[in-house]
């Protein structure tokens, strides 16, 4: 599976470490725990949690469908371009533009802090 920028999603995931890992046992070393951000706008909007772990960012996107139903999705992003692309394709860009900007900025800042460079959130 390739992303819009041509990189392979599974290669991205696998390259977190070169160790071949098979289920069910996990032999992954624990990645360095970096900053964790939670972005919450209003009760009806999705809640995002972004956690820098080593050289990548793990994202949780949690939505309350109603008082009983809830859904949470999880993904790993290795590069900020991949993360920003995902943000820009999310429906919150239209439904919750302020939240979209916050998530975009927060993710970009996390990547920048990990990589020791300026944030790219304002570029597009």
């Amino acid at each position: 599976m390739h992303l819009a920028d041509g990189r392979d999603v599974l290669e991205d995931l696998r390259s977190q470490d070169n160790e071949s890992v098979s289920m069910p046992a996990s032999t992954h070393p624990t990645p360095e725990l970096g900053p964790l951000l939670e972005i919450r706008l209003s009760p009806e909007a999705p809640v995002f949690r972004l956690h820098a772990l080593g050289q990548f960012v793990c994202v949780e996107r949690r939505t309350a469908k109603d008082s009983q139903r809830e859904a949470a999705q999880y993904a790993i992003f290795k590069q900020d371009t991949q993360f920003l692309q995902w943000c820009d394709d999310d429906a919150i860009r239209l439904s919750f533009p302020l939240l979209h900007q916050c998530v975009r900025r927060a993710g970009s800042d996390l990547f920048a802090s990990v990589e020791g460079r300026p944030s790219r959130a304002e570029e597009s």
Partner: protein, 250 residues
Amino acid sequence: MVRQGSQPTLAREADLLRRLGNAVQDLGGDAGYFMARTHDRVKDVHHVLMACDPRWGSEYESLDYYLSDPWFRYAAANSAPARVGDIPCRSSRERAVVDLAERFGFQQAIVFPAPSPLGRARVALLVIGSRDPAFQERMASTEYVAEARNVSMALHEDWTNKLRSDLAEASELSSLDIRILELELQGSRTKAIAKTLGITRTAIDSRFQRLKDKLHVTGRRSAALRALEFGLISAPEQEPVQHGRGRIRR
């Protein structure tokens, strides 16, 4: 709006995501996801771990396909793996769910349900997809199927353990809370629980109110069952239940 710091980390989720990604690749796929649903009378929660283009998840989410997914419907009723082509769509909406998956690398895919002893209260599946037209022929290999089923069940077990751990951390049950829930599970009433523990009935009622909030349920019985389900309390020993009198655990 943006909070930093004290929430639970995403380290366990990230570990599972990386293991999922590696497993999908080891199993010859180029996209995959693991989806688990936990539902009871109070909550209905879907969790999705993605080792695929995450834009699939964004569209799936925005169209709210969770309750219209034919592959998930299959996994809720079957334990055997299936080629997605063998799972018929029952509505145009189910067809749309499949169309979306096909756009994101699941043209050829195999569904591996992860059975649970809790039956339909907890359903999970692993989907491995590929654009390779011959991908689904891997189903002919019993070794391949066994390996993929192991992955699916291991993910489900690990995910359940994560939820259990999350609930234990979030609920912060005291030893008194645990005793109260265990007594409730044994069928003891408020008066008996109060007598057994040497506290007032009002205190018991107050405790139960907080426990219901902590465990996200609406009733005492549900609180005890939720705590039991997630391993926070022990199942009662096989002795006759004495209604009206609590039994002190050794």
